[in-house]
């Protein structure tokens, strides 16, 4: 084809493609708009309240765990939303960290040459994976509750804590004003540790000489704040939990609902993460391990320095899926009374205001936003650990 004929064919193709795309966007957008209009009309016809005015109305109900100030008489439904969201993020965040650690350990354990360790890890994965999460949550809740003593027989923990079937009660720290120096010292210590590690690595790259990193880093992170604690005369006081007539007063309360959900989510997701890790490790060519052994690296270092970094390329995408599953599974908290976003917002607020469409739409948008954010961060990390093959 001649130059001109080629170009005009390309243009025609481009125009046709663009027209199809625009047409599709218009059709889909029109459908969505029509659906929204239809829903709004039907709601008005049925005399069901609509709109987002309920956000600023007084909530009127109480929430058992609140990470921010909340009062049933003055807080609004919007405040209840934020309380629920913080609870969800708390349990999901802690659970993600523990599940990753446990999952990596179990996954690598399953590949161990020690027959017993490998089989035990295999049993763990196969049994936990196949039991529905809701059952596991109920098991932990009832097992946790039934085994803990009543209020009268609380187990006293060293350090002033208390454990009973209402929760784990720890001494509540109260900070004096001079505590901010300790916090600044901590941040400085962390920054110093990071800089130290970077410089030690660069030195190793240049000259091959290794410097011990772990203990100096720990010393900086913990030592500096500790020195400042001494200097500012211990600006932390503790208020200890006391057994009252019905409940424990004072102290920091960790609900049994929170603990049960945490255990169940962590153990369940760790089983799946273990399989993802195992798949990643098996995906690294055996030649890498042989080469590392030929260089004289012991098994632990082989794993840590050669195999796992290369396995991360295969691990990161399914790992992202498992994290997203964990965050969505945290909504099962409604079964045991943990006040997460789903229970507080889609349960109490929806039922009191009756505005199902708006409340469910907001909840879906929130879960979608959280999932997209996690997905984005994990994809950035995955891009970094991607192995570029020659």
């Amino acid at each position: 084809m001649t130059e001109i004929a080629q170009r005009s064919a390309r243009n025609a193709r481009w125009i046709r493609d663009a027209a199809l795309q625009i047409g599709l966007v218009v059709v889909v957008g029109g459908l969505a708009y029509g659906a929204a209009i239809n829903a709004a009309q039907n709601l008005t016809q049925a005399h069901i309240a609509s709109g987002f005015g309920f956000w600023n109305n007084t909530a009127g109900f109480d929430i058992s765990q609140t990470l921010m100030p909340y009062s049933s008489s003055t807080s609004t439904f919007g405040d209840a939303f934020w309380v629920g969201l913080l609870n969800t993020l708390l349990v999901a965040g802690i659970s993600v960290v523990f599940a990753t650690v446990l999952g990596f350990v179990i996954g690598i354990a399953r590949l161990s040459r020690n027959w017993l360790v490998a089989r035990l890890a295999g049993c763990y994965v196969e049994s936990i994976r196949n039991i529905p999460l809701l059952l596991q949550i109920l098991f932990w809740y009832n097992a946790v509750l039934k085994s803990l003593p009543e209020l009268r027989g609380s187990v006293a923990l060293p350090g002033g804590g208390m454990l009973n079937n209402r929760g784990l009660f720890l001494p509540r720290p109260e900070f004096a004003a001079s505590f901010r120096y300790v916090v600044i010292a901590l941040l400085v210590g962390i920054a110093a540790a990071i800089i130290f590690r970077v410089r030690a690595r660069r030195r190793q790259d240049r000259s091959g000489k290794q410097t011990p990193i772990l203990w100096p880093a720990l010393g900086l992170i913990f030592g500096l704040p500790f020195i400042f604690t001494l200097l500012t005369d211990f600006p932390i006081r503790f208020s200890y939990p006391q057994v009252g007539r019905f409940n424990v007063m004072g102290g920091v309360e960790i609900l049994p609902e929170f603990a049960a959900l945490l255990f169940a989510l962590t153990i369940y997701t760790a089983a799946f993460i273990a399989e993802v890790v195992r798949a990643g490790v098996l995906a690294v060519p055996h030649g890498q391990t042989e080469a590392a052994q030929a260089l004289g690296l012991p098994a632990g270092r082989t794993l840590r320095l050669v195999v796992v970094p290369q396995a991360m390329r295969v691990i990161v995408p399914p790992l992202t899926s498992q994290y997203l599953n964990l965050i969505k599974n945290s909504s099962l908290a409604v079964a045991i009374g943990y006040p997460d976003l789903f229970q507080v917002f889609t349960g109490s607020v929806l039922n009191i205001t009756g505005q199902a469409v708006e409340v469910v739409a907001i909840t879906m948008a929130v879960y979608l936003t959280i999932s997209l954010a996690i997905s984005l961060l994990m994809n950035l990390y995955g891009y970094r650990v991607n192995v570029v093959e020659r």
């Binding site: 239809n38 016809q45 049925a46 069901i48 929430i63 008489s73 079937n165 009374g337 039922n351 009191i352």
Partner: protein, 390 residues
């Protein structure tokens, strides 16, 4: 011929993207639904505005209709129910005395009796009912969406529910109030001693809100633990997670029977709120609401007049004008609602009068043994008052 109002609203109506037709104007300017137009009204419009031949034909038709009797108000829900051959009733599913299946699988209870009464009035067969068990969280969405025809599920009538949910409440069939149940071992004699106590409650109910209000008004600290279903809340109370369980007083007696040791729990004397329980229907179908409302009043009037399940056949031969009107021997009241004239006879024959239903399900003839109290007839010091059938 189209009148001015039709023209302006028709051109403003958007195209329905699913049918590609303009939605017919459904809303008047003040947001109310058009009334079900009676034949008389349609005829009057035609007579005043239609072309000559139409007017003559209409006059003739009106004359014929007027000559041959009254016509009933049209109810869409009644038509759907009769076409289906079955009433779909939203019920509780777990509350003893009000609505739950017995060990043989037959639904029994005070609210279930009400549904059977409506079915008897429509079909002359109280078994033509399908019961849909609903939690507090989804009961209103089930009614709004059309999944059920009537909600008979110990639901409190409040202003916010009446106005913003698109439902109407027919008539109070049980005057109740909220109370507390505590473990006897706590040695609590009054709800005012519950400062700092943990209270198990079901979310999305007026109970949750009243609880917070009561504790605040009496300057007590509340630790509430909320659950999605009453089952979970009662179970948590039973295992000792909470000191107290709160719900409507009638529910407390029912739930106490399900605890592992009913005698280890007492119901506190305080009634902290008004809970008028009423069956609910969708807004916009006034004729159906009439049927549901008058089913209740038929049962109350029957008890006032001394008509019960065993003597209703003999009462057909009575000379008392009130009884003759109630049972349909005189008057055309059934037809005015779209039912047969012996609608009340059918109800009493199938289910009995209000007192019989009460005693059988929640009164002395049942394990709950609740006294009539506020639910006695107005002539006996209670609040149940039968609006006259005439």
């Amino acid at each position: 011929m189209r009148c001015a109002r039709d023209i302006t609203s028709a051109s403003a109506a958007p195209v329905n993207p699913l049918t590609f037709k303009r939605d017919r104007p459904q809303m008047a300017t003040d947001g109310s639904l058009p009334r079900a137009r009676s034949i008389a009204e349609i005829g009057a419009r035609l007579m005043l505005k239609g072309p000559v031949m139409k007017r003559v034909a209409t006059a003739f038709a009106i004359a014929m209709v007027l000559a041959f009797g009254t016509q009933a108000a049209f109810s869409q829900t009644l038509k759907a129910v009769t076409d289906r051959g079955q009433l779909i009733c939203g019920a509780n599913g777990t509350l003893a005395g009000f609505g739950r299946p017995d060990p043989q699988g037959n639904w029994t209870g005070f609210d279930v009796d009400f549904c059977r009464a409506i079915a008897a009035a429509i079909f002359n067969d109280p078994t033509k009912v399908k019961y849909v068990p609903l939690t507090a969280a989804d009961r209103f969405t089930a009614l709004q969406s059309g999944e059920i025809d009537v909600l008979s599920r110990n639901t409190t009538w409040t202003l916010s529910r009446d106005t913003s949910l698109g439902v109407d409440f027919a008539s109070v069939n049980y005057y109740d109030g909220q109370g507390f149940m505590v473990h006897k071992a706590l040695k609590v004699n009054s709800a005012l001693e519950l400062d700092n106590a943990s209270v198990c409650v079901q979310q999305g109910t007026t109970t949750e809100l009243n609880l917070a209000d009561y504790f605040r008004a009496n300057h007590m600290t509340l630790k509430s633990v909320t659950f999605a279903t009453a089952d979970e809340a009662v179970k948590a109370y039973d295992t000792g997670r909470c000191d107290s369980y709160t719900t409507d007083s009638s529910g407390l007696y029912g739930e106490r029977l399900r605890l592992t040791d009913p005698n280890a729990n007492i119901v506190l004397p305080e009634i902290i709120s008004k809970e008028p329980l009423s069956p609910a229907v969708r807004q916009g179908d006034d004729a159906w609401e009439d049927i549901v409302r008058w089913t209740h009043y038929a049962m109350v009037n029957a008890e006032e007049l001394g008509v019960n399940q065993s003597n209703v056949d003999d009462m057909l031969k009575s000379d008392a004008p009130d009884i003759r009107r109630l049972l349909g021997v005189d008057g055309q009241f059934g037809q005015a609602m779209g039912l047969t004239n012996d609608w009340a006879y059918r109800i009493i024959k199938a289910v009995g009068n209000y007192g019989e239903s009460f005693e059988r399900n929640v009164g002395q003839g049942s394990p709950l043994k609740i006294a009539r109290g506020l639910n006695a007839l107005w002539t006996k010091g209670g609040l149940q008052y039968g609006i006259p059938v005439r």
